[in-house]
Amino acid sequence: MEVPVIFQNADGYRMFGILHQPDSTSSRLGVVLCNVSVRSRTGIGRFYVKMARVLCQEGYPVLRFDPKGIGDSEGEVFQEGPAVYNWHKIQTGCLAADTCDAVAYLISQTSVERVILAGLCGGSITALFAADRSPHVSGQILIAHPPMIDIPSEAYAEYVASRIEPWEAKRNTKNYLIKLFSLSAWRRILTGKSNYKLIFRTLLTAKASNPASSASKEGKLHRIFNEEGWNALKRCISRGHSILFILPELDRETIDFRAELVPRLAELKAPSSAYDLIEIPQANHLLTLVEHQEILLEKTCAWVQNLDAKLFARV
């Protein structure tokens, strides 16, 4: 059963959501999904709807909701203009308080006693910060988790607006090589009709050894390691949370994750049960291909069932 719900956050703003309630036996473990960036609770490609329905079918109550300023909910949090400023707000946990309220709401309305927070990209950061604050959370599913934090500035906003992906650089370079022998292409260059910015960016990206990562020259200027996020993660692990990291193979965040977070996690010498890493081959950041979404659903469902058994000794 899916029910539209409205509840108030701690500041009195009304939050809109959908509660997925299993028709038969309901688990003591529930899931709250954390929104991707500033977008609504359905998730990209309706992925959160699919995820909630699959988990609900397995007996887990799931709450999808819009925090303040997002989707159907009340209030304004985010500023008009370059998105990098809003990314920064999310990366510093601006949606965590509302998420804690959502956890409390799920517990008050269902049989749920312990909660898993799950989110993709910005949603995974929100999940992490909220898990650190809420006493009811036992696990997190962190998908395409960004370990870095963006330093918002006009220069960064301009960089993001003109940034091109490595595969685009490769394709453009190939086209440029073909056009080297084209008279009309040279005429466009010499008469100022070419997109010089694009050419420059292409060559710069193609030249960089690892252009997608924050280790690139430009990346270093605008992104730093999210120390607060790391501290939250350490506290969650020390409190015995179980964490599932989902890493899409072709994601710049995965490159950063391997470079920045994996060595720190190894140094932490956490018990093997503390976290799992699952890579989804050939998937992009937002898992926009349906086949990748299906793999993710299968893996997360199995992981939730394992955690449920661990927490409540359910067979």
Partner: protein, 283 residues
């Protein structure tokens, strides 16, 4: 999924609007809707149905439509936003829905608003492909006004552009295009489905859309029409104007708020003001 109607939601005493979220049945499926109503309704009640775009455009434009619905409710209009079957929070999967099913959903939404509120006059507002749906629904239901925001006129070109996103993913994953656009179209025509931006495009949606003759399907509506050309959509908007010779065209200088952008937009004051004024005068 079971249908569960939520109780009416009373707003705070000093709030100018009330809002209610609920599911309503449409052809055996539960569709999600939000009704935005003025807290103090006037003697004459006017209603507006919002027809959202499809797939990712809907996802990105969502907050703008929510904000406009609230703006209209504050101005005294009853507004119904709803999700088509297979979209947003509604029942079903995207690939099950067709163009026709979405038109039927829009027509059902008109009945739902009439049940919720004693509206005397009704307008349909659609954005992008939602504008096409609103236009066809208007020809069938004859509402009192029709407003089209950045409507798509060349549906074939639109769908082919949409298919290009699949090619982008092929480039990312395989470093080359293994199935070009023609191959994808062939796949669709043979009854297959194609993954685009996390959604599965079906043969039924594609075929119905590209075969639509808008002059024929939408031209029967003779009431007042406002067409808003937003950003670079003016060519399409002007073409759409040919369907309605008496329509009014406004041009709004703004970035397309339904597409992926590195800038965040949740309110478009000029578009909101002009649209609201036009509705005040024509509904």
């Amino acid at each position: 999924m079971s249908l569960l109607d939520s109780p009416f939601l009373s707003w705070r005493d000093d709030d100018p609007i009330m809002e209610e979220a609920f599911f309503f049945p449409s052809r055996g499926r539960s569709l999600y809707a939000v009704w935005h109503a003025p807290a103090r309704a006037g003697e004459q009640r006017r209603g507006v149905i919002l027809c959202s775009p499809l797939a990712r455009e809907k996802f990105i434009a969502h907050r703008v439509l929510v904000n406009f619905a609230r703006r209209l409710a504050e101005a005294g209009f009853d507004v119904l936003r709803f999700d088509y079957m297979g979209e947003g929070d509604s029942e079903g999967n995207f690939e099950e829905a067709t163009f026709e099913s979405r038109i039927m959903d829009a027509l059902e939404a008109i009945s739902v608003l009439r049940q919720r509120s004693p509206v005397d006059r009704i307008a349909l507002l659609g954005l992008r492909l939602g504008a096409v749906i609103a236009a066809i629904a208007a020809a069938r239901s004859k509402p009192d006004a029709l407003m089209l925001w950045a409507p798509i006129f060349d549906l074939k070109a639109y769908f082919h552009q949409w298919l290009r996103t699949n090619l982008t993913h092929q480039m990312l994953i395989h470093k080359k295009v293994t199935n070009n656009r023609e191959a994808l179209i062939e796949q669709l025509m043979a009854g297959g489905i194609v993954s685009v931006e996390g959604f599965l495009m079906s043969n039924a949606l594609y075929q119905q859309a590209i075969q639509l003759d808008l002059r024929d399907e939408a031209g029967g509506y003779k009431g007042p029409v406002l067409i808003a050309a937003i950003g670079k959509s003016s060519g399409e908007a002007q073409s759409f104007g040919a369907v309605y010779p008496e329509s009014q065209l406004i041009e709004i200088e703004a970035e397309p708020f339904w597409g992926e952008s590195t800038r965040y937009q949740a309110c478009l004051p000029e578009l909101f003001d002009l649209s609201c004024c036009w509705l005040e005068e024509n509904l």
